[in-house]
Amino acid sequence: MSADAGETLTARIWRSGPGRFQDFRVPRRANQTVLDVVTWIQRRLDPTLGYRFACRVGMCGSCAMTVNGVPRWTCRTRVERAAPGGEALEIAPLRNLPPIKDLAVDMTPLFERWQKALGRFVPPVEQGNDFVVVPPATPARRAADAGIECIGCGVCHAACDLAAADVEYLGPAALNRAWTLVNDARDGAQLARIAAVAAAGGAFACHSHQNCQAHCPKGLNPTAAISGLKRMAALGSRP
């Protein structure tokens, strides 16, 4: 990473204290990521800037922010992709989650919804049964596979219009997780989970705008998962 002879870019960073954007001049570098820019500002210009990151390589899902209006992983988004043609870089916290400070949001409501959708494996009550055989090619296993790679970054939840409109809505991340579990033959809470996702604020609140699918950095499709839950709850149909 070599600096291109003093060339700089303008980064507009959301500051929660004054409640407005603050402009910073940052050296423009080849292949720099949005997270590089935020880190440079925090280390060189303003150590009070609050943000969150951990792995820097798209594994942990903790650095998601709103970059030029789009929810993204900042570690896997290069500046020239988010703000092409030298346009200003605007970085704000994720939408639809309560801000903690500057660019960091509280992820607790996301994981509370996750629990409300029964988005966790529940072992069956019967003990001593033989192992459940799950052949990889079965439709249910494939349906679970399609959604299993979620790392809980909250990008889909931030992109969701319904999550913005209805605070009770479980949201795409929680419902996608529920979908992987209703397709898990080993799970022992199938009826309870269908009841949880079919309740008010559940799958039926989804309007299929597909913003979650459009923005998921893992290329998952929570809209498809939610439509699967709707069919399962309304018609009892399985993949």
Binding site: G69, V70, D161, S208, Q210, A214, S227, K230, L235
Partner: protein
């Protein structure tokens, strides 16, 4: 609006067409109600309805009705049939079918 994708536009058009139809319905019933006041009032209304501007609004209403119908069928498919990846194409078909109905109505009017 820069980041709006097709399914979101489809949802917006679907809702706006629904609102347009909901607003139109009371007017429609009122127009039908004119028949109760004798042929004269109804005929006067029907003469007014032949005005080109009113005819154009009628075409817009037919478009709204067709858009709402095809959009609704698409949503039913999303909710009750297996998920299909080609949603953009389906939205395009729903829009094209609605537009065709409106054009046919405009040509026959």
């Amino acid at each position: 609006m820069r980041h709006w994708r097709l399914p979101r536009w489809a949802a917006l058009v679907h809702r706006l067409s629904g609102v347009a139809l909901a607003v139109f319905l009371p007017l429609h019933f009122w127009a039908l109600g004119q028949a109760l006041h004798g042929t004269k009032t109804l005929d006067a209304f029907l003469a007014w309805a032949r005005h080109p501007l009113v005819k154009a609004t009628e075409v817009a209403l037919v478009l709204a009705l067709a858009v709402h119908l095809t959009g609704g069928l698409r949503l039913l498919a999303v909710e009750f049939l297996a998920w299909q990846e080609d949603q953009a194409r389906r939205i395009a078909w729903a829009g094209a079918a609605a537009l065709a109905v409106a054009i046919l109505f405009a040509l026959s009017a």
